[in-house]
């Protein structure tokens, strides 16, 4: 059982914020780290794994500092999102190499490498150079190096990236298994339903800030509560806007930059859309385009920041 603690952790790249004042405790079980691209997920992982020091704050594993403390690194496994690997080594050689760096002798390392390759479904490709692996196979071998030394704490940075459907199922099962075994597992993604497949507990990160921690359904509620933006392009802009503004469901209405573009924010999309449909049909207003522009996580993050 391992507990990772972050206290007021910040990391900057010059003037760019990587992680800003994050305080949390990661406990046994699976936690999803959710955030759009550029949110600071990878930076947070690098700080958590001791690859980078925080500029301020403190990261500890069961009370022991992580930065510059290789003695505890055998308790941590990290599957990075970076694609680069040792292209000329085979999957088997790579995992044997990593196992030996974890302190195993050659014979044990070879045995462990073969077992791990089996776990991640790469037995048949074990002796092929990594340079000849597909993206999914590379993802599997990266996964292998993170789990083969049986760490207490596991970090997976976008582990589903590049995986085929079968690989995704295997990975989800693997992550579930480690969570059930009492390991502290953190999985990142920018896609909510990916995280939902693996856990109910999530952390929301945006612009380096930890916006919220909780269970997935609370985030779902936030998505439902937040105003939904609707974009309509019509040749009868004035007539449509005059009618729509009367709807109580409409929070704001404004003209867009494009000709005939109308941008509407509504709190109640469920009642707004049927009303809008009726209006268009009854008044015979020609509609060229209609879309909702923020039916994704980005709008949740923006909403939370506000």
């Amino acid at each position: 059982m391992a507990e990772v603690s972050l206290q007021n952790v910040s990391k900057w790249y010059g003037e760019v914020i990587g992680v800003s004042d994050v305080t949390t405790v990661l406990r046994p079980g699976v936690t999803g780290l959710l955030g759009p691209n550029g949110a600071g997920k990878t930076t947070l992982f690098k700080v958590l794994t001791g690859l980078m020091p925080p500029d301020t704050g403190r990261v500890t594993l069961d009370g022991a500092p992580i930065w510059n403390n290789p003695a505890i690194y055998h308790r941590i496994g990290f599957c990075p999102s970076a694609e680069n690997m040792y292209e000329q080594l085979t999957g088997f050689e790579f995992l044997t190499y990593m196992a030996r760096l974890n302190g195993m002798n050659d014979a044990d390392a070879r045995e462990r490498a073969m077992t791990t390759l089996g776990e991640v479904g790469l037995t048949e490709a074990a002796h092929k150079p990594i340079g000849a692996y597909s993206k999914g196979m590379r993802q599997r071998v990266k996964l292998g190096q993170s789990i083969q030394h049986q760490p207490d704490v596991l970090y997976f940075d976008e582990p589903m990236s590049g995986l085929d459907p079968l690989g995704r199922i295997d990975t989800v099962n693997l992550i579930h298994r480690y969570g059930k075994e009492g390991k502290t597992v953190v999985v990142s993604s920018h896609i909510l339903h990916e995280i939902e497949e693996m856990t109910n507990t999530i952390m929301l990160l945006n612009n380096g800030m930890l916006l919220a921690e909780g269970v997935v359904h609370e985030i779902r509620e936030l998505i439902e509560e937040q105003p939904r933006q609707v974009r309509i392009v019509t040749r009868e802009l004035k007539r449509l806007s005059n009618r729509i503004i009367e709807f109580p469901e409409v929070k704001t209405i404004r003209f867009g930059e494009e000709e005939g573009e109308l941008l509407i924010q509504t709190h109640s999309p469920d009642s707004f859309f049927p009303k809008l449909t009726n209006l268009i049909l009854e008044d015979e207003i020609p509609i060229d385009e209609m879309s909702t522009t923020d039916d994704d996580l980005q709008s949740v993050f923006e909403y939370l920041v506000k």
């Binding site: 690194y73 990593m98 195993m104």
Partner: protein
């Protein structure tokens, strides 16, 4: 369960793995032909010498007693090996010892392991030294055989101890130059330019500068322990003339020269460790995610 590789006795496994895997990657990484091509290129001058000698003995009626094979070998060592092969190979292979890992971000996989950073740097450095010294050794022995088996010039079988000594001096040179290049590789962004300047401009011209600038070069200490005293007087005279021409200063003692070269290696490995320890990913990673 894993051993704890931070215990001194358990550090041998990671160190052995670092040396063997990296030596193989360095040797065979680009192509299995890479080391063969490097050795063949280094042998071209010796082969050319044999062709010229064959031509001279056939058409210019040169007598074998006029040329001593060991003298020719000594000239090869002092010019080609000392001036070009040792610094050139160090530049080529030493500079990428650690910088390649940082650039490719594969350094992540090393830094995640419970291995002291010093062992990571030392292991990679020793793998470089094993490969470069091996390549140079093969090249040296083959050059020795090619030159020594010149018909009529006599096989230089009685100079094997000199061959071993030369190889050791060159290995020490590869260690010192390689360690400096490893440090340059992780410290400077324009590492090739800095490396070329250090190796082929500073190291050769410092001897001509006033004061004791020459003492801040690897070459000075390397030449201090490089000696072919057993060769004919002509060789010695030739060396002396060459040293004067190159602006060489009086030798340091062999002991102090070896000591300084070892100190250079130690200091560069320690400084590289510090850089890898404190800013391993700052060199390559600038994005915020």
């Amino acid at each position: 369960m894993n051993a704890n590789p931070t215990n001194p006795t358990d550090l041998l496994n990671p160190l052995a793995a670092l040396i063997s895997v990296n030596a193989r990657m360095k040797l065979m990484g680009r192509s299995p032909l890479y080391p063969v091509i490097l050795i063949l290129l280094s042998l071209m001058p010796a082969i050319l010498w044999r062709l010229v000698y064959a031509w001279l003995s056939q058409y210019a009626a040169i007598e074998s007693s006029m040329i001593d094979a060991f003298t020719v070998y000594s000239i090869f060592c002092s010019t080609l090996f000392m001036q070009f092969y040792v610094p050139g190979l160090s530049l080529l292979m030493g500079m990428t010892i650690f910088s390649e890992e940082i650039e490719n971000e594969t350094v992540i996989y090393l830094l995640l392991r419970p291995v002291p950073r010093f062992i990571l740097v030392l292991g990679k450095f020793l793998s470089y030294l094993a490969v470069s010294s091996g390549l140079l050794g093969v090249s040296l022995v083959m050059s020795y055989l090619i030159i020594g088996s010149t018909p009529g010039a006599g096989l230089i079988t009685n100079q094997l101890d000199s061959l071993v000594k030369d190889w050791m001096v060159f290995t020490l040179g590869m260690a010192a130059y390689g360690a400096v290049m490893m440090l340059v590789g992780v410290f400077f962004k324009q590492r090739l330019l800095v490396g070329l300047l250090l190796m082929f401009v500073w190291d050769t011209t410092a001897a001509f500068l006033p004061g004791s600038a020459y003492q801040f070069t690897v070459r000075y200490y390397l030449f201090s322990i490089f000696s072919h005293a057993d060769a004919q007087n002509t060789t010695q005279n030739l060396f002396d003339a060459m040293k004067q021409m190159l602006g060489m200063h009086p030798h340091a003692s062999a002991f102090s020269a070896v000591l300084v070269l070892c100190l250079i290696v130690t200091a560069c490995v320690a400084l590289t460790t510090m850089i890898v320890k404190h800013r391993p990913l700052k060199l390559g990673q600038q994005e915020a995610d």
